[in-house]
Symmetry: D2
Subunit: 143 residues, 4 copies
């Protein structure tokens, strides 16, 4: 099965915890985005460059499942895969793991459409699409 | 079709916007939670009281769809419905609307399991469950 | 002593708490901004309108003192005063209080310079300055 | 002049930006905390261990000055120094720099008192104090 992923590793910030003493569930959504940023950086097309060229990935759907909690100071990995690239749509798949033992904390998915500066849906330029298609994974595609 | 909902109304904070000049998608997850808090307050069983009694709603899944962006200072409504109450699980459904014209910005859903102080899944006390069952809606149940 | 203030009232969100089970200190900075927004709205010149006219309040300094913690679900008031209006600078002063008994949780201050769309410091238009000068308070000016 | 500091390096997250397309000023407060966490980790006494022993650094004051804005994806450094250790109080000083050229974005300071689990001010254990005193800097002490 075709697979390619990029890992982003960082520690849980105190501000990301909540009164249950664990990471607040909304923090994972921010982490997914950080994973996506790292993915695009690593394949050589940082999101900041995409934006400069006038294209934006507008989030149209996000989904997260929570398996185990994380606490302050723990080192976590966000493992990001690109699972679909269509004419106007891309889908990313995420796993958040404890860095030390690989325990799965959360799984997630985000669906994006390509928009211009005025937030109008536009076709993804073919050169971008062809470039990204090289990095598409089959793992996580069924989430 | 049976329906009951609670509205929470507030304005978009500047800190909730991002470099696209619109509300960041993770802010909606926080708003859903605020909608849930308001729902529980309005039916007379604030979440803070539930926590005091030793029960917690651990989030096991969250999902959001984004239809239209919101900008700083706009007044929004989070409309919350309780759509399922099981022995160990409750499901909430959310709509985020522009307060002035009712335009739908986002829809969401969150699935919770009942846990104790040590984060162990426990059965929801029958009196809680029976109380909540009065407020269950059929609208949004298919999201 | 000349005094004028605007109150913004809302409840503590769960996402604003941290692992100490109290509101994270960075949340107060966001609340100060919400107080400032409400102040400008109430005097009839919402910040969104100021931005539309091409002026921005760039934050150059912020300061907060923390007296007592707040917890989830508590209703708090952010009491905002405008304490200085200069050619290129405005200063706001904030108090965060428990809504029910007026207990002081935090005091804060923010200093802003007027900038244009390209983040260059510019003189505040005289009509804005004269309008704001009516609402300047002496209370809090020494913070 | 005695000096010791610890650097934490990371990239600006998209969620940390605001509608001015720059990092929101409240994000720096979270970054200071991350700098503080890294400082304590590096000197061999992570804050998570301090908390486990029953002591907490309650924030009683925080101050930030903003010199230049940061944008999404930029790599920044939070340079943290411990500038005061008293019987019940510690003070940290922070500089946020652009990683590539050392440009100063922000300076900050946080004052903490030592509290126990019930948020009561307590004396910092002498062994902790003596350990920390080795790492106190004179640079930044006048901020």
């Amino acid at each position: 099965m075709k697979d390619f992923y990029v890992d982003a590793k960082f520690r849980v910030r105190y501000a990301e915890t909540d009164a249950m003493r664990i990471v607040h569930h909304s923090s994972y959504i921010v982490w997914f985005e950080e994973g996506r940023s790292e993915f695009l950086r690593k394949i050589g097309m940082p999101y900041s460059k995409i934006e400069e060229s006038g294209y934006f990935f507008s989030v149209v759907e996000v989904r997260a499942q929570y398996k185990h909690p994380a606490v302050y100071d723990e080192e976590v990995i966000v493992r990001t895969r690109l699972v679909e690239v269509k004419t106007r749509k891309v889908i990313f798949y995420y796993e958040v793991l404890i860095a030390s033992d690989g325990k799965l904390l959360s799984r997630g998915k985000s669906i994006h459409v390509s928009v211009d500066r005025d937030n109008r849906v536009v076709t993804i330029p073919e050169e971008y699409r062809n470039f990204w298609l090289q990095f598409v994974s089959e793992v996580g595609a069924d989430f």
